[in-house]
């Protein structure tokens, strides 16, 4: 199975993290080297950094349709999610509201906080996402009430890529006067986002998911909503997020988002075309199944299951062929259970173990797609030969689930 000296190197796990662009690296470099001052310092060296910081804030705010003073810089998506939810929960308690509505397939950065709040007495309602991986507006309508402190539903799922009806969900929240947060970590830089048009009150984003640097992100909080700090101390970020500002990271994040949103429509079409070609090829593998709604999906994400094979082994053989992809297999997480996302859309355990997520970006090429399409079937075949389950399925001793 080892390729004969003609291995390509293909990075196709852009939902895990992305490769910083040349522009991003240059920006990071420039500001690390030249603009190292502390933005809280009053002398010129500090004020130049401060000006850069505010320039980045304006640019990013514009890209998501908010005001600069509605945007707070954080260390990434997880921190933004944690702060948004903790803050809304604390505010809710002050008004006697102790219910939070979310969905079963949110990112752990959301679910973990909700779990803790549940232990502290909050009522946590997780809406189902059905087989297609999409939250229903009616379900929110039924669940929301005047005890509800917060609704938090992700914009697009990180494993299957399904896009949620954010505008409509936000509309329901608005009508009920409930704060609406969305984890848009997978969406920002990949889909058009406008917090005002989409009725979003709070939004989390993370730079490394759109070719920016790691360790930097932001939280949008609509004016009028009181934000509690998660990391307290200095007066940075209007006293809502202490810590010397990571100006080089912030500038590189702004550069990354500028770039990502340039010609976004074309990029989305290009990436979707790559994804669809690959989907067509990989669907030819017998007993395979594409997961999630096919129409409302991030352009770059393809999540597909193969019966009779285990994800980690699949991922490692694929890696041997030079291709980086991920899996929702239990073995990839250290848990015994496979991905909660795949279980949330109703996949049986044994199928969920055999999932592969390929996430593309506009740097991927059709040549790479062809290479993936050639190599993945070989990996699946090889693993099926090894698999006692596959043998039983073939011999009819076990029934196919797909």
């Amino acid at each position: 199975m080892q390729s004969k000296g003609e291995t390509m190197k293909i990075y196709a796990d852009n939902a895990a993290t992305t490769k910083p662009t040349k522009k991003v690296i240059e920006t990071l470099m420039h500001y690390t080297e030249q603009v190292f001052g502390n933005p809280s310092s009053l002398y010129t060296t500090g004020q130049i950094a401060k000006d850069a910081l505010e320039d980045a804030r304006e640019r990013i705010a514009k890209h998501i349709g908010c005001m600069p003073n509605e945007l707070y810089f954080t260390s990434g998506g997880s921190e933004s999610d944690n702060q948004a939810i903790m803050s809304a929960a604390q505010n809710g308690l002050k008004n006697g509201k102790n219910k939070i509505i979310s969905s079963t397939f949110e990112h752990h950065a959301v679910l973990h906080v909700l779990e803790n709040l549940g232990k502290q007495g909050f009522e946590i309602v997780l809406l189902p996402v059905y087989e297609d991986g999409i939250v229903r507006v009616e379900d929110l309508e039924n669940a929301i009430d005047d005890k509800t402190a917060l609704v938090t539903i992700m914009t697009a799922n990180n494993e299957i890529g399904t896009i949620q009806p954010i505008k409509q969900l936000g509309e329901v929240c608005k009508r009920h006067n409930v704060v609406f947060h969305t984890d848009a970590v997978q969406a920002v830089g990949h889909l058009p986002i406008n917090v005002k048009e989409q009725n979003i009150d709070m939004l989390s984003l993370s730079a490394h998911k759109f070719h920016g640097p790691k360790g930097i992100g932001a939280l949008y909080v609509k004016k009028g909503i009181s934000l509690q700090s998660l990391i307290g101390g200095g007066a940075q970020e209007r006293r809502k997020r202490a810590g010397t500002e990571n100006v080089p990271g912030i500038m590189a994040m702004a550069a990354a988002l500028d770039e990502a949103l340039e010609n976004l429509d074309n990029k989305m079409a290009y990436v979707a075309n790559l994804r669809d070609s690959l989907q067509k090829e990989l669907s030819k593998i017998p007993y395979s199944k594409v997961n999630g709604n096919l129409d409302n999906r991030l352009p770059g994400i393809l999540n597909i299951c193969f019966e009779g094979v285990e994800g980690e082994a699949m991922l490692l053989y694929t890696d041997d062929a030079g291709i980086s992809v991920s899996s929702g297999s239990a073995c990839t997480s250290g848990d015994l259970d496979p991905s909660h996302v795949l279980l949330a859309i109703g996949l049986p355990h044994e199928i969920a173990h055999g999932s592969m997520r390929i996430s593309l970006c506009d740097k991927n090429t059709m040549e790479e797609i062809e290479y993936i399409a050639q190599n993945v079937p070989k990996v699946i075949e090889r693993l099926r030969i090894m698999s006692p389950i596959w043998k039983d399925l073939q011999e009819g001793k076990k029934e196919h689930v797909i």
């Binding site: 009779g308 285990e310 073995c331 355990h349 173990h353 596959w390």
Partner: protein, 127 residues
């Protein structure tokens, strides 16, 4: 790296992978829900394992542990084979990540299961 060179070697080039059509005994442990199934096929002649094959549905270390364990017991007498612990397999693989040690336990169990099945079938024959 995720695994030692040895693990990768056995994962990439698994020894004794496949099935034995006329096996004297078969042992299987695990279930697909948990993401690990191992099946061991044995050929036994005069209490000695003359041939062994495995089929594994599982992660890289499950495959590597299967490969390594089958190598270690092949040619051994059954009572010797029963002495091969999962610890020995892990050592032979130059270690496994902590959360993967259970894979080596599974192989040990699968081999024991196969030998037990063999013993039982022998008893049945003897009766």
């Amino acid at each position: 790296m995720l695994y030692s060179e040895k693990v990768f070697d056995h994962f990439r080039f698994p020894r004794n992978m496949g099935e034995i059509a006329d096996a004297d005994a078969i042992g299987e442990v695990g279930n697909a829900k948990c993401g690990d199934i191992m099946r061991i096929y044995l050929k036994i002649d005069n209490e000695v394992i003359t041939d062994i094959k495995f089929q594994t549905f599982g992660c890289g270390s499950a495959i590597a542990a299967s490969s390594m364990a089958t190598e270690m017991v092949k040619g051994k007498r059954l009572d010797e084979a029963l002495q091969v612990t999962n610890k020995a397999v892990v050592e032979a693989l130059d270690g496994l990540p902590k959360n993967k040690v259970h894979c080596s336990v599974l192989v040990e169990e699968a081999i024991k299961e196969a030998i037990n099945n063999y013993r039982k079938s022998q008893e049945n024959k003897a009766e």
